[in-house]
Amino acid sequence: MIKTCNHLTKHYGKPNGWSLDAYEREGGYKAARRVLTEMTREQVTDEAKKANIRGRGGAGFPMGVKWSFMPKQAPAGKPMYLAVNADESEPGTHKDRTIMEENPHSVVEGCIIACYGIGANKAWIYVRDELHLARERLWAAIKEAKQKGYLGANPFGKAYPIDIVVHTGGGTYICGEETAMLNSLEGKRGEPRLKPPFPAQAGAFGMPTTVNNLETIAIVPTAFEMGCDKFSQQSALHDLKDGGCRLYGVNGHVKKPQVIELAVGVTMRELIYDIGGGVTGDREILGVIPGGSSTPVLLPTETIHAPDEKSPLHRFHGVNVLDVPLGVDTMRIAGTMLGTCCVTVMAVGTCPVLAMENLMQFYRHESCGQCTPCREGSAWLKRVVTKILDGESSMEELNELHDIANSIMGNTICAFGEGTAMPAMAFLKKYRKDFEKYVRGEKTRKDARLTVT
């Protein structure tokens, strides 16, 4: 069901919509003021849990629960930190940039509430280097908030110092992995760390740290202003603890690609046809990638398999994947992941083999190289798909592709390995016949296209 919201997007496209004046005119900073002056830290984390905000970075972990992992007391004389992940780099994901550019004060206010809730006095916002305008707007917002006394030694008159620093990456996708991001923040190569210890135990600079996605933080003021329970109830999946509203994206072969703020529970069909204006050239759908290139592709003919009557997801049993509300758990049971819920649409006419080659080139380029299965596997996958497209491969090699992908799974320090292998296996399984045509020479690279009209 489409329920449009404009909590974050109300400032989008307006002249100076990113300024403090515009933000406060619409009720901005009321939530942070109330939280800091009227609530205790425990009350903040308890309230935050009720919002049922599932992490917007892709993994979907409940934000409030994550906040509660932080130590009650900082280790003697040591700081605790909030680290905000704005390294948005996954192909198909284009939502965080819009918040930073058009509504940066929501991020600043979210940082204030989150810092107070987790017991931190400093927030780091890690922004990928390419987003120059986004960083400029964030710094400007921080400066404005400092001048107003909303940040600094006594925010809103409360003796609870809060500072925010924007940090710059260096053009690597892997720094979106939370521990790689922390290494990069410390001035090191962005190589993921082994867990445990988890960031809440030893994160940035070895101190307890909560890592949240930027959209997760940006929506926090809205949740506290509305009341977290009421915020959660906007969602059609409130009972599954997947609450509130979020930014949905639609891109690829649709007539009107865009980012839009909707209550959780819109379906992919609604997103593609009602929001996105339908498929380019009124074609049929070949496949949809639900939320970033690491989430396995879905065919438009797939249905949900949830035969267990006791499962709360049973109500979606047998429903077409395009018609279930887009949520963390519904996409998991569809055999994929919600990810960042920016849907990439591929129309009939797209060559799935070429699409896979495009994605595998991305993963080969972005593997940090620490773990052999990922470093070698991602390059191997790319090499074989290229050979298939060039008509230089064999059925044996095509069969091997699945094994290569499978050997990456579970054998790496971080989830990048799975993020490479899962979409690869989905493409191979779901478009097997197309791959075979190239192997048999019935099609050549000249026939392969990614654009349609």
Binding site: H94, H132, T168, G170, G187, R189, N251, H253, M346, F362
Partner: protein, 159 residues
């Protein structure tokens, strides 16, 4: 002449250092600052930074070689990055790249003979909703058409 930061940038580096609990944490922002001045990061600059931050030159070298946005050799005056990844490719990034190559007379990864423009492809620039797109220096250009690309590139060529 030995490498030195301009007075303004030197002040900025001091400010950057004050933000972090360790000097090492300033490695990336400092490298950006240095590259902004010189266009690339030389061996000499890496050693300079290592002394400045009390870290080993190997550490700085490790960082520079890890992050693709640090240029390890001189590049053109302007940087053109065309996003080539799937969502852009579905909307014609392949043709954008070909058009840029033809217009500039260089292949991806190379700099025009006059040293003005370096053409490269980028991995997803978080602009999938406004594809195809390219980044020119610090600016994004979205929803590209052939005419728009020509305007943008011609302006750079004139500069």
């Amino acid at each position: 002449m030995p490498f030195a930061l301009s007075a303004d940038r030197e002040r900025e580096l001091t400010e950057i250092l004050s933000r972090y609990p360790t000097k090492m944490a300033a490695t990336l922002p400092a490298l950006h600052l240095m590259q902004e001045q010189e266009g690339w990061v030389s061996e000499e600059m890496m050693i300079w930074l290592a002394h400045k931050l009390d870290v080993s030159p190997a550490h700085v070298r490790g960082v520079v070689t890890f992050y693709p946005l640090f240029n390890q050799e001189p590049v053109g005056k302007h940087q053109v990055w065309v996003c080539r990844t799937l969502p852009c490719a579905l909307r014609g990034a392949g043709d954008v790249i070909k058009h840029c190559e033809k217009k500039l007379g260089v292949h991806v990864g190379h700099t025009t003979k006059d040293g003005k423009i370096t053409l490269r492809t980028a991995e997803c620039l978080a602009s999938c909703g406004t594809a195809p797109m390219m980044q020119v220096d610090k600016e994004y250009h979205e929803n590209l058409t052939t005419e728009r690309i020509d305007q943008i590139l011609e302006k750079l060529q004139r500069d």
